[in-house]
Amino acid sequence: MSATQQLLIIEAGRSERHYWRDLWRYRELFYFLAWRDILVRYKQTVIGLAWSLLRPFLTMLVFTLVFSKLAKLPSGNVPYPILIFAALLPWQFFANAFSEAGNSLINNSNMISKVYFPRLVVPASAVIVSFIDFLISGIILVGLMAWYGYMPDWHIVLLPVFTLIAFAASMGAGLWMAALNVKYRDFRYIIPFVVQLGLYVSPVGFSSSIVPEKWRLLYSINPMVGVIDGFRWSIMGGEAQLYWPGFFLSIGLVTVMLITGIVYFRQTERRFADLI
């Protein structure tokens, strides 16, 4: 036993040398926290897990009605519900992950102040929960495509790549929010606002091709534009043109957001227990 005993040194400002190893050691906690959140969410509900199918489905119906029938926005040859759903899928994932991760530390404050574990586990498992919802919602998309007899082409193989980008965007933004929220509770009120506003400034209810060409690059500063366009591009194939400069701008911003998010989180996490 003593041969494997590790020496742990605790000092002010000392970054944990074993942090990533610790994170690996606590890998099952990701699973358990995500499992808890999913289990708890549908306790004492009658239809249970069906809610995670029903919610996005109803949103899709409303969006289709509002944007295609009332606003009469164009969709090319693709059925409007598929256009909407290809965007709604990553957007819902981002919005849920962002707000769940942002509030995750506050919601688990009793754990933070009583037990040590790499704090990164908490927002990360919140993102994982949203990712599982995302996968479940994906079933609806498959159903829609079958209903309309719509066959995607080779572009679909790149979908996992775009999913990864969506994951990175959610994680980056979520980490920032989670860390800031511990110190400044203002962010608790900013989060729903960002989510609500983001829905309208992101090309969810419409195709980003309706944005005038000269504004496209500026529009792509919103990282979700790149993610959503990417989803549309891979699901709808040639029907949706990908605006490459904007797409790379979005990807770049997502990367920056993720890296700075991790750095900021690591810097502040040592003081979470004092602040929360």
Binding site: M1, Q6, I9, I10, E11, Y26, R36, L39, V115, K183
Partner: protein, 424 residues
Amino acid sequence: MQPAISVQNLGKRYVLSHQFQERYTALRDVVSNGVKKLADKLRHPLTAPAEDPTHEEFWALRDVNFEIQQGDRVGIIGRNGAGKSTLLKILSRITEPTCGQIKIKGRVSSLLEVGTGFHPELTGRENIFLNGAILGMSKAEIARKFDEIVAFAEVEKFLDTPVKRYSSGMYVRLAFAVAANLEPEILIVDEVLAVGDQQFQKKCLGKMEEVGKEGRTVIFVSHSMPTVTSLCDRAILLESGRVAKMGPTSEVVMHYYTSGQASPASADFSAKYVGDSKVRLLKGDIKNSKGGVALETRIDEPVVVEMAFEILEKNVPVLVPNFHFYTAGGDCAFVSHDTGMQYLAQGKYVSKCIIPGNFLNEGSYFVGMAISSFSPTTAVHFYEKSCLSFNVIDPHEGIITRPNHAIPIPGVVRPYLAWEVAAL
């Protein structure tokens, strides 16, 4: 051999904010303070920024140095605010120190609260897995210990019931059971035993003793001197963030009492209402035979326990004062009541009980004070548990019940009894 834990010059500083009541900072304040500072700087560019009067530094721990050897069971004692919890939080890596260094050898598990992360909606079974994972156990490890945990907690029948439907006792038992089955090399425990019924507390103490005997290091923080004395072989006394004394538990506990920090030899209840509509407790004192308040008494001298109380109503039943004596180990030594009580009119009274010399064994004792009545029905008007304490000391010199050697003599009492020997 290298110590399991070595702490050097450890300090933890908190900045107290007087102006705001909120626990957290609002962005608005940061922005407005920043603007204010900038404006000040523009107006008086040469003067140094004034010390912010709304913020005050507070050292929860300062210059703390100690070493704990592997296999030691160490109690950390001290008054509220002495820095015990802060020390535990730093040792268990929940918060980081402001200065100093700690070296820890081995895997640490800390148990600062029972049932951390328990979710009320989840069933007992689900919570065992969740809580175990939070405490750092792997799924396989939990599965292996599952039966043991359930048996220890005595909740077999309720495994698939959400814990929100548990009684508080069941909840605590389950939570402790998970933690008790951790297998760390160093276990850090905070006051968790202050919950659950007596029987279960005993069980927990037993479990912790077992952990210590297996050669693992235990650090235990508590307010309860009896528990610390019975569980730990060494103790550290913290006093406003510094180590006041360190050494064998009995010495440190004694120091704690004599420095007037512990449950005292005299307690005044006039400010705090203890009692019911009929009678209330006013004051309790431990005195020596000369009538002075005394925390320490020689084993061959009597101890006088006094209780002042006030009868608030006319026509109260016959009130019977009774004292409950507990040993440092938490066992009841004896209970004594006034056998000759008559009806008393409204007014203030003092009850006195004399424990003769050469009766109690050496050690620390805790006194609980109560008044009961037995007609028309049995009623307890108040019971203030372990509100007083005293030490019986054996100076070894000239003590008749002490033979000519210095080994401790076991037992709650060490009475001076009549002995005879006759030839057969």
